[in-house]
Amino acid sequence: MKMGVISNIYFCLLLLITAIGAYRFLLFEKSARLFYVLIATGLVNEILVRIFQYRQVNTMILYHFYCPLDFILICLFFLYSIKIRRRIPYNIAIFIVISLLGYLNYKYLQPVNHIASNMFTLESFSAIIMALFALYKILVDERIDLLYKYANFWFWAFSLILYGGTFFFWAYIIVIAKDDHLIEIAQNIQGLINIFVFIGIGFVFLFYPKMAKK
């Protein structure tokens, strides 16, 4: 399948999910709202990328902003959804550390003409660890019964799939794939994973009122 087709399907799906999420937004609890903002940020980034491409401007700079923002949002989502007892303002610490990492990566490792693959890889790895931790917390919690009715459970599961795929994708791009053909294969696989995950997230947004919130 051509990358353009997958990319367009993904873009349309992103638009649809953002619309469904906006429709349900007032019903969302705090963590679900953060997850929605994460999706909406992805859409904004995708729109900007398309505008930049249309105007034939280098899109790499966008990812240097988008990736740290995405990283901060996914961390905050897990922080709120796992409900860790906060003795220190983690959210501020997360914001400062990730912004600093993003800046250092931009300044010294991957400047404006490079994509921020280091940050994407780090973000994916961190998200996988957080998703696994969240699922472990469910495993040891005796109170939960019908797990498939919990919106956060699905957000964690889809995050694991999405960021699992993303991690392999960026690791592959950084370490091995140097020619366009191999990169296209990787992008196709990554695109299909994204489509699958976003369909799932769309269903969770759609059926959110019937799901257990806590």
Binding site: L135, L139, Y172
Partner: protein, 265 residues
């Protein structure tokens, strides 16, 4: 590294992590369902055990009541009656005015004590309650409270009285008795009103006092009495509600369903 080999590793790695995520999700759903069912089963068993324990306690209490009732009636009551007869004889045989007066006074007091004891004996005896019926049994208990505790009480019966079966009447009576006991012991009321409302499909019982009241959940002693009442209400498949406010008295309301055609069922 050979690019083709690396691509295979990439595809395999991606597939493995997706498969892992799917397996994990499936495992968690099944495992949590099983875990939750086990938890529910454990809770049900614990609840059943607690209920059995409470039932046994109530049975033991009922046996003790019967024992005390028989002891009061057959032993203490008989002895006091003999003492009363002897006092009567002393009064009649004596010519000294002071002795006659004291014997008369003692005789009257003893008569009152025997009367109160008989009331206690009756209200403790399940057989008497079955024979007398709920209304008379409650009247007896109120008579004792009026006489021994000096609390003004009255019984208001609405509707035509019918039997709801000996066992159920005994349970209702014990709830009223517990409520009265709690009120007299803890609330110090000036007045207690008992209401028995015989409806076509239900019996509503209210025990209302104007005592000190309490903040629900604050009194540990009253808590045990309330638990006993709740257990009995559960045995009656009825609904028991306690409302109270400090300095505003307490109302206990019990509603049990009765079969309009056959109230004993």
């Amino acid at each position: 590294m050979n690019p083709e080999y690396a691509t295979t590793i990439f595809i395999a790695g991606t597939l493995i992590i997706i498969l892992f995520a799917f397996t994990l999700v499936l495992f968690l759903i099944v495992h949590k369902k099983k875990q939750y069912h086990n938890l529910l089963e454990k809770q049900t068993m614990e609840n059943n055990y607690q209920n059995q324990l409470l039932l046994s306690r109530l049975e033991v209490q009922e046996q003790s009541f019967r024992y005390f009732s028989e002891e009061i009636h057959d032993n203490i009551g008989q002895l006091l009656s003999i003492v009363k007869m002897q006092l009567y004889n002393i009064r009649n045989s004596s010519r000294e005015k002071e002795i006659v007066d004291q014997a008369t006074s003692s005789n009257d007091l003893l008569g009152k004590a025997i009367h109160d004891l008989r009331n206690i004996s009756h209200t403790l005896n399940s057989g008497f309650i079955a024979n007398a019926g709920l209304v008379d049994a409650v009247e007896k208990d109120l008579e004792y409270i009026r006489s021994a505790k000096g609390v003004d009480c009255n019984l208001v019966v609405k509707g035509e009285e019918y039997s709801i079966g000996n066992e159920r009447e005994l349970l209702v009576f014990r709830i009223i008795q517990e409520a009265l006991g709690n009120a007299v012991k803890h609330a110090g009321p000036a007045h207690i009103e008992i209401g028995l409302n015989y409806g076509p499909g239900s019996l509503e019982v209210t025990v209302r006092d104007n005592g000190s009241g309490f903040k629900p959940g604050a009194q540990k002693d009253a808590g045990i009495g309330l638990i006993n009442m709740q257990v009995r209400a559960t045995m009656l498949k009825g609904e028991l509600k306690v409302t109270s406010e400090p300095e505003k008295g307490t109302t206990i309301r019990l509603v049990i369903l009765t079969n309009a055609n056959n109230p004993e069922v």
